[in-house]
């Protein structure tokens, strides 16, 4: 037997052995630290590809009023149901405050009325849940970029963290039930200053209801539903989110989901 053929045969055997190992150990590998690096590399590569394709900044599609879903599905926390939140809800959120702080020159505290008097944008966009469903709705809010410009990011600030009023226990199927946690999300400046990125206060022409994130929620239209943080009460500019909660930049990110949720 030729040595060349021998090595080729070995290569074939090794290939099939490797494939068989992958198939029979898929469950174990899913949770193994070694494979976490592989998945992480794929995630980074996917994000790099998306960010490159989205440059120069592209707009998410905006739909016609006739495309709006008859019922906009509410998901995740449907009511934060804390004493403080319930008190705000009872007063129609007139005393709700949005604070903007962290690495900014001018920390700010805005009331709902303040926010509603700022320039607004209305857009009909689709909300794509990571689970697979889609709802189309008309959002009205103030562009996040306007708020950030007013606050003045300090040099070195890279991420906008949205702190929320709800504590989500999540669903076991999505890796959430074991670990309740305060909901939060983060986006970088590219998305934060995108013209369609809003702090929204109205859905389909009506003030946001409790199930959809009253009184304020994020809209970051080129990413999946779990990035659209509801019940936003504090915006914090940071250089890194490694010290916040699980350190991955969001409630679901801390439970295995991608930080950049473009797909």
């Amino acid at each position: 037997m030729k040595p060349a053929l021998m090595t080729r045969r070995l290569a074939i055997l090794a290939g099939f052995g490797g494939a068989g190992y992958l198939i029979t150990n898929a469950n174990r590998l899913t949770l193994s630290p070694g494979f976490a690096h592989v998945f992480r590399a794929v995630e980074d590569w996917t994000m790099m590809t998306q960010r490159a394709l989205l440059y120069p900044e592209r707009m998410a599609r905006e739909f016609k009023p006739s495309d709006i879903s008859p019922v906009f599905k509410a998901n995740g926390t449907l009511n934060p149901n804390t004493p403080q939140y319930n008190a705000h809800a009872a007063q129609n959120f007139v005393n709700w405050k949005l604070t903007i702080g962290g690495m900014v020159n001018t920390p700010m505290t805005l009331s709902l009325t303040d926010i509603m008097h700022l320039p607004r944008r209305t857009q009909i966009t689709k909300h794509d849940c990571v689970e697979g469903w889609t709802a189309i709705g008309m959002w009205t809010g103030v562009p996040l970029g306007l708020l950030l410009k007013a606050a003045g990011p300090r040099p070195g600030a890279r991420y906008v963290v949205l702190h929320c009023a709800d504590n989500l226990t999540g669903e076991p199927g999505k890796g959430g039930a074991q670990s309740p946690g305060q909901y939060y999300e983060s986006i970088d400046f590219r998305d934060a200053f995108h013209p369609q990125t809003l702090i929204a206060y109205a859905l389909n022409g009506k003030p946001l209801d409790v199930a959809h994130g009253a009184p304020l929620r994020l809209r970051v239209e080129r990413q999946l539903g779990y990035k659209q943080a509801k019940y936003v009460e504090r915006i914090e500019l940071v250089e890194s989110f490694a010290d916040i909660a699980g350190g991955k930049g969001g409630y679901w990110e801390d439970r295995g989901y991608e930080w950049y949720a473009g797909i």
């Binding site: 037997m1 030729k2 060349a4 053929l5 074939i12 290939g15 099939f16 494939a19 992958l22 198939i23 898929a26 469950n27 899913t30 949770l31 592989v38 998945f39 794929v42 995630e43 590569w45 996917t46 998306q50 394709l53 989205l54 592209r58 707009m59 998410a60 599609r61 739909f63 495309d67 879903s69 008859p70 019922v71 599905k73 689709k126 794509d128 849940c129 990571v130 689970e131 697979g132 469903w133 889609t134 709802a135 189309i136 076991p172 199927g173 999505k174 890796g175 239209e221 080129r222 990413q223 999946l224 679901w252 439970r255 295995g256 989901y257 991608e258 473009g262 797909i263």
Partner: protein, 295 residues
């Protein structure tokens, strides 16, 4: 490798080393010829592994929302043309699969099945999903890993196949092929496989099936991208092409089902046409031309 070698090999035939390749061979059961190039063989097996993992992880992802819609939007209150669910009935919980106006009791497999011996609400059962436990985040990790591999592998196959004219010469059906399609269908119904010279080429149904599965895999990638809000902003025409994110998701699922159907027929044909000869040809490249007296 200077001296020509003769190999009375494990393939049960005789090959000669002709410069770069093992070639022109004699075999007691029929002539052996070099049918599949190395790159075709390699990409075939990588593709098979990708499809296995993509289907398994795809079904786990599907379980996060086991309903299909048509159009731009679709969620629980919208009409689904396909759904898998579990319902409480007088006989206890049952798994119910709905296709259009029809409902089927699929308890034990779809909707309501055992995981570690305990029944639970679950779209597809644990023995078919990757990972077997229900977790959307983990399933997505596998899905994107193998989606990238599928795309890179598929691109390598296509570029090579077009470059060496393998696709144009061996896969695209000729006019003559298409005229003989009725004959080929009749041969397949009688499970008669070509012998002699005709067995050196793919028959017309085989060509159409391979071409079809290439188109389906392309469709998988495009509909997959259409489900991405990021890619929607990069290239919105795909949303129009497929009629919305939910239509794209449904086409993704239907195309995957057709690919699974292809794999089943493909494996059955391998068994029927002579599994050792067929599998060997996809491992070593060498295929023994079946003779008339084989049957």
């Amino acid at each position: 490798m200077s001296d020509p070698a003769v190999s009375p090999s494990w393939m049960d035939g005789v090959q000669i080393w002709a410069g770069r390749k093992w070639r022109a061979v004699w075999h007691p059961g029929g002539e052996i010829f070099y049918r599949h190039r190395a790159l075709v063989r390699l990409t075939h097996w990588i593709n098979a592994l990708c499809i296995l993992f993509l289907v398994g992880s795809g079904l786990n992802i599907f379980n996060a929302h086991p309903r299909l819609y048509w159009g731009q939007y679709g969620a629980n209150t919208d009409a689904a043309f396909f759904s898998i669910g579990a319902f409480n009935t007088a006989q206890g919980p049952r798994g119910i699969t709905q296709i259009g106006p029809w409902q089927f009791d699929t308890t034990g497999v779809l909707g309501w099945s055992k995981v570690h011996g305990v029944y639970q609400v679950r779209g597809w059962p644990d023995w078919i999903t990757i990972p077997s436990f229900q977790d959307l985040a983990d399933a997505r990790h596998w899905h994107f890993l193998f989606a990238w591999l599928l795309v890179i592998n598929g691109a390598a196959y296509l570029v090579h196949g077009l470059w060496v004219r393998h696709i144009q010469r061996d896969i695209l059906p000729t006019r003559q092929d298409l005229r003989a399609i009725a004959r080929s269908i009749w041969d397949h119904i009688r499970l008669r496989h070509p012998t002699g010279d005709a067995a050196r080429r793919y028959n017309v149904l085989q060509k159409l099936a391979y071409l079809g599965v290439m188109l389906l895999l392309t469709l998988m990638v495009l509909t997959g991208l259409t489900m991405s809000p990021g890619f929607n902003a990069v290239f919105p025409p795909l949303l129009d092409l497929f009629g919305g994110r939910q239509s794209a998701r449904s086409i993704h699922f239907i195309s995957a089902s057709l690919i699974v159907l292809f794999v089943i027929v493909h494996l059955a044909e391998v068994v029927l046409a002579g599994p050792i000869n067929e599998i060997r040809s996809m491992l070593t490249g060498f295929y023994r031309v079946p003779q008339d007296h084989d049957r």
